[in-house]
Structures are given as structure tokens and as C-alpha cells.
Symmetry: C3
Subunit: 124 residues, 3 copies
């Protein structure tokens, strides 16, 4: 799920011109990643690739919450829980093709909480 | 090793109410990860999984410091060296099940240095 | 490419004594990693290992930009887009063996943009 627009709005509302935007996901089976926002097949490929790196078929010990739970923790461990994006001239300093994604690693959708923290100076 | 309580104490002592806590590990064969703090089998599974992703049996070129050294660098490269956690109402804004772990990737325990940096505003 | 000296110079020029240095790469097929700066074979081993984790031979759907493009996105997704390094006594608080590397994941070299943001207090 591309959350770039949500986070950009928080930055715009803050009126910070130069500073930092910190994004933090409060879960261990969902995570953040900055990836290409143009071609959806990039997301498809990344998902399939991580599925193969951390397959449900592996004999995980922790499986009380379902066979997709431990793979979700594993995928979250090697992607990002926090991401810090500089604010440049009042906007997120992302590259042209970069989008910030909240990555749900469980099979069923869950409600997820993300903290967005903005700091810096507000003049132009 | 769950270092959440140590870092929480630094945040409490700082009397920062709203801000950021940055944690940084000064090593390349140990790393940080935020993971589930409830069931120890999650940690067991993650360790076994990373062991399989970066096995000691691989023909690593760099092995002067032992066969477990290069796997430790690899595991550290795909987990975290720095983690930034927002401070919300005077506490780390972690989710209910999140713990901050210092992950030793060498077989023998090493003494490890972690920097905790706190900033923000102190009013309530 | 070891960019530690470049970033250290920015920190020195800022005259910040205690604070944070945030480094952000504006691309999704190059990334940051803090790794051992002493023995070049560590970098060689890491590169070979990531090549095997995300091989060009995998049937990636997204291949318009070449067979090395999607592996580059995958490698970038599991390393770092942002890294935050505390500034301690006017210098990057890196460990003795730590270097900050900009990791080009495409086969051909690309021009890459990195944002370095420094904040903190300047007294000694």
C-alpha cells in the first residue's frame, strides 16, 4: 500500500521547510519499504521473491497464529520498521521513482498503526 | 537480547515527552531488529532462518576470523544498524508486541556498544 | 563505494558537536549499508551472496530495464534507504571498523543522489 500521499500531507500540514520525517510502523508482521512506484509488477516480483525467501512451508516452530505468521515476522525483520526521509523545500526528499510503502505480510488484511514524526524549521 | 528496558530508561531519564529516540549499533557483526517480544520461539525461528540464508558452509572468501564471521556480516547487512523510534507521551512509541533486540551474530558472545540518542521537547 | 569520508566532511563543516546525521539515497536500485571497511573481501562476499539471494536468472516479471534491474530492487529492499548515525564529539559515532557504503546494484554505473542531513548542537 503506497502511503506516500498520506505522509506527504502530514509534512505539508506541518509547514516544515527543512527537516526530517520519520515513519514508524508499530507491528512486527508488517513493515516499510521505499520502492519503485511506477510499475506494479515491481511490487508483484518483490512479494513473490520474499515469499520464496521465507516460505510458509518451512517447519517454523511458532505457528499458533497460522502458517503465514512466522514468514511475516521474517519478512519484516529484513525490511524496515522505521524510515527517515529528509524534508527538502517543504517536501519529502524522495527521488522521482520512489514511493513509501506499508507492506502487509499477513495473508488477511490487518488494521495497522503508523507513526509519522516531523521536525525541522519552517521558514522558506 | 531484548534491550527495550535499557533504552526505555534512557528515554524516561531524558524527560522528553515528544521526540525521537535513535539507537545505533557500532558493529558490523551484530545488529538491531524490532520483533515480537512475547513468544521466544519467534527469535528461535528467525535465528534458524537467517542461519540458513547465510550459512557458514558457504565458500566465503573472508574467513580469517572464523567461519561464523562472514555470515555475521551478511546477517547484519540485511537487518538494522540504526533504528529510530518516535517518543510519544514520554515513552517509546512501540506497538504492544514490539521489542527492540540487539542481535549478536557471532557464535561467541562479544562486548557490544550501542549509542542511544534522544531528542525532542520535554513538556506534557 | 565507501562514502564515509564525504559524509564526515559534511558533519565537520556543520560544526555540530552532538546530534544526528541522516543519510538518504534517492533511488530504488542502489542502497546504503554500514559494513566492515578493512578487508575488501567482505564486500566481495556480500555482493556474491546477495547475487545468489536475488539472481538475475529468476523469472522476474519486471524486466523492461534489463535482467539486472529487478535483482537491484530486491537487494535495495533488504538493505537500507536511510541510515541515521549519531554525531558524538563532532564526529560520526561509527565503530572502529564501520564504513558507510553506497551500494550500486545495477551492472552499469549510474549517477546517484544522496541527501545528507545534519542536526544538533554546536558547542563543545
Amino acid at each position: 500500500m503506497d502511503i506516500t500521499a498520506h505522509v506527504s500531507r502530514v509534512v505539508a500540514d506541518s509547514q516544515v521547510f527543512t527537516g526530517l520525517c520519520t515513519v514508524f510502523v508499530r507491528h512486527t508482521s508488517a513493515s516499510l519499504v521505499i520502492q519503485e512506484n511506477a510499475d506494479p509488477s515491481v511490487q508483484h516480483d518483490l512479494k513473490r521473491w520474499l515469499d520464496d525467501l521465507a516460505p510458509e512451508s518451512r517447519p517454523w516452530q511458532h505457528d499458533d497464529e497460522g502458517t503465514d505468521d512466522m514468514p511475516a515476522h521474517a519478512k519484516s525483520a529484513i525490511t524496515r520498521t522505521s524510515e527517515v526521509i529528509p524534508i527538502v523545500e517543504g517536501r519529502l526528499g524522495l527521488g522521482l521513482w520512489q514511493g513509501l510503502f506499508l507492506w502487509e505480510h499477513r495473508r488477511r488484511p490487518h488494521e495497522r498503526q503508523v507513526i509519522v514524526h516531523v521536525q525541522g524549521e519552517g521558514t522558506s
